[in-house]
Symmetry: none
Subunit: 216 residues, 4 copies
DNA sequence: AATGAATGAGGATTCATTCAT
DNA sequence: CATGAATGAATCCTCATTCAT
């Protein structure tokens, strides 16, 4: 009675969506949205094509789910963190956020999703809108709010927060693009760490308000 | 029955290639490589599908021709310029080159080609190799040679030329990506000029070697 | 709304390959390789274009499968038979093999494949190589081995086995060509049986070693 | 006045059709009817595609012209010869005709046309009909008339003339097929002369009426 | 006469999605 | 729930034929 009963936790169907999302992330990142075949996603997750459709309405919904799982959630967490960390210096906070962004998204497979969006948003307006609302707006808002706070407190030079947000995020975005299959044989000597260090050095020296000239 | 009958088509041998390249540039930039249909390119150029094949062997060759026409030629010109401008200060030269790059490629439709490559190189190795050889290698080499010269002459801090090249080019690349169909509704408040100004400011203050401390 | 609604399609996984091979044989034989459209093959098998590709990778593989199914297998069987029939007279064996060839391939639709190869091998080198290796070489080897054995045993006149093989097979080949769509309205009065009889008569009288002159 | 006039015999337009026919023969023979591109024919003849259409209405008419030029004319000549050679022995005449057929058509590039017809007649009924009327019927009629005469005169065994015609012509046809690109690497050791010799030997011994048994 | 640019119908192949089992 | 067979629209490319020059 015992032995021939299937163990009830074997391949719980609850695990399926996660397996599919993981497979989809890999393939979307490697090949892009249009070039990813759902059959490959299914196969990689160890199920059949039809099964995928039991969990996700279609390719688009699958993609959105992947983005939610890998990016949107991270942003949500960061938003809470910022709200909480009202005491820290903005410079410090900025460095922390940029680094966290890098470590929790940029340096993971998920960073490939940014590349994908940049590449294909034009062909898939629905997806573009979704990503814009759920990721871009919220992510940029996060950084901009810190910059704005720093400018107001006099810690930063009086820059335009929105422009500076893009200046600051650009290199991390670039690095994300580079990290994931920019193309096969490129990024030869590029070391992400070295890049981030060089970048943060520039920021350190470049954004800070000039120290008030000491009176002679 | 008269001479005013519209002919079914016109012979425009000399103009065709340019018209086709222009149409192809537009569509490749808007839709990417895979999603661009040759029939649409033809139609936009005012000819039929078949005609396109009279001038370009296939999709890949058409794309290469577009890249040559819009990017490779510019790089060639820049190479000559650099060789000639051996007298200028490296800082000056660097700013000039980055700006020229922006004005002659980045701010034109051609910048969309960079986005395209980033997006789809992984799916089209042949094209990736071509672009890498003809654009990336030569373009980076250009910047790196200036940095290297500046470091050697003591004008710049002793940075790694290859890493710094990527640091320097990243924002322009980013801007190129942003400028063209990042996605339809994005780049809202982004003003390229403001971005370039902020960026070049950073560079100015960040890369220069610290002025030797004046002896007391 | 009831159970009598015709389903849009039926699942017939096991039967499909055979149905497709049969349809393909018919069309390849009637129209040749290049002129056969896969959509027609599919339709004749009662499925859609896409379904064909579930079972055969492409046109070439479909064709190879047709040849394997209809010719290669028969040759394999004949090879075994010959090996087994070491006791029979070579003349007898030869007649048996030629006749079997005729009855199991020549007189069936499969004979059209020989015509097809003759016609189009030059344009499809891959297919030519396949057919040469799997059919021609093995088929000719079969006949040649019998002739050689007959010459060695003195039963046959001392002919060159390879040349004689072609002499012997030529008429059967011809007949195969004639039987199948040589062209629509030809072969008017030609009766294959009459032809084979005439041919075998020639062989009988022509190949046999002259009876030793009886001593006076 | 003299020197700058173009020599009037340079590339007389009268030569064009011949050049086109020669080019067409080559290509039809090498690639078959459907696979021969008129542009290639034109190029090989040293003219442009359009020019070809000045001399031949379309592909089909071009092909018919090639057949007329290379086969029909030969048959016409043979018909006259036979009518004239009423005195010869039928055996002799038969051998002569078969050999002439071989030497004037079979061993020339024109033999490829037979292959082409066999292969593609089914797809081009118009062409099939033309070839049947102009070549097959008249050619077979030629041989059959000789056989018939031989049977009537008692020189030959009492065979069915039409069947025997096909038996006799088959090997020559075969040889024609073999000679022209049967396929690339085949016909390895096959020497047409050896084949013809073996064949004529068979005929010699096989068709002749048994010598009347000498009265004891 | 000659040219060759232009046309457009036609066929192989791919893949998101549906649905019979 | 799960499967995977079946569908068919979509896209690249070819080539006989036409016709502006």
């Amino acid at each position: 009675m015992q032995s021939d009963t299937k163990p009830r936790w074997e391949r719980r169907k609850d695990a399926r969506p996660q397996e599919l999302l993981a497979a989809a992330l890999d393939l979307f990142v490697d090949r892009g949205y249009a070039a990813t075949r759902l059959e490959d996603v299914a196969r990689r997750a160890g199920v059949s094509k039809g099964t995928l459709y039991l969990y996700f309405e279609n390719k688009e919904e699958l993609f959105k789910a992947v983005v939610r799982e890998n990016i949107v959630d991270v942003i949500g967490k960061a938003e809470s963190d910022i709200a909480a960390a009202s005491g820290a210096s903005c410079s410090e906070l900025l460095r922390t956020m940029l680094h966290k962004w890098w470590s929790e998204v940029g340096s993971t497979r998920a960073s490939g999703l940014a590349k994908l969006i940049m590449a294909e948003a034009g062909n898939f307006p629905e997806i573009a809108a979704f990503y814009n609302d759920e990721v871009i707006e919220r992510g940029n808002g996060l950084i901009a709010s810190i910059v704005r706070r720093g400018v107001e407190s006099g810690e930063f030079a009086p820059v335009d927060a929105d422009v500076m947000t893009r200046v600051l995020t650009a290199p991390v975005l670039m690095l994300m693009l580079w990290s994931h299959s920019f193309f096969p044989c490129d990024t030869g000597g590029m070391d992400p760490e070295a890049y981030m260090a060089a970048f943060l050095g520039l920021v350190e020296r470049g954004i800070r308000a000039p120290a008030p000239v000491a009176p002679t």
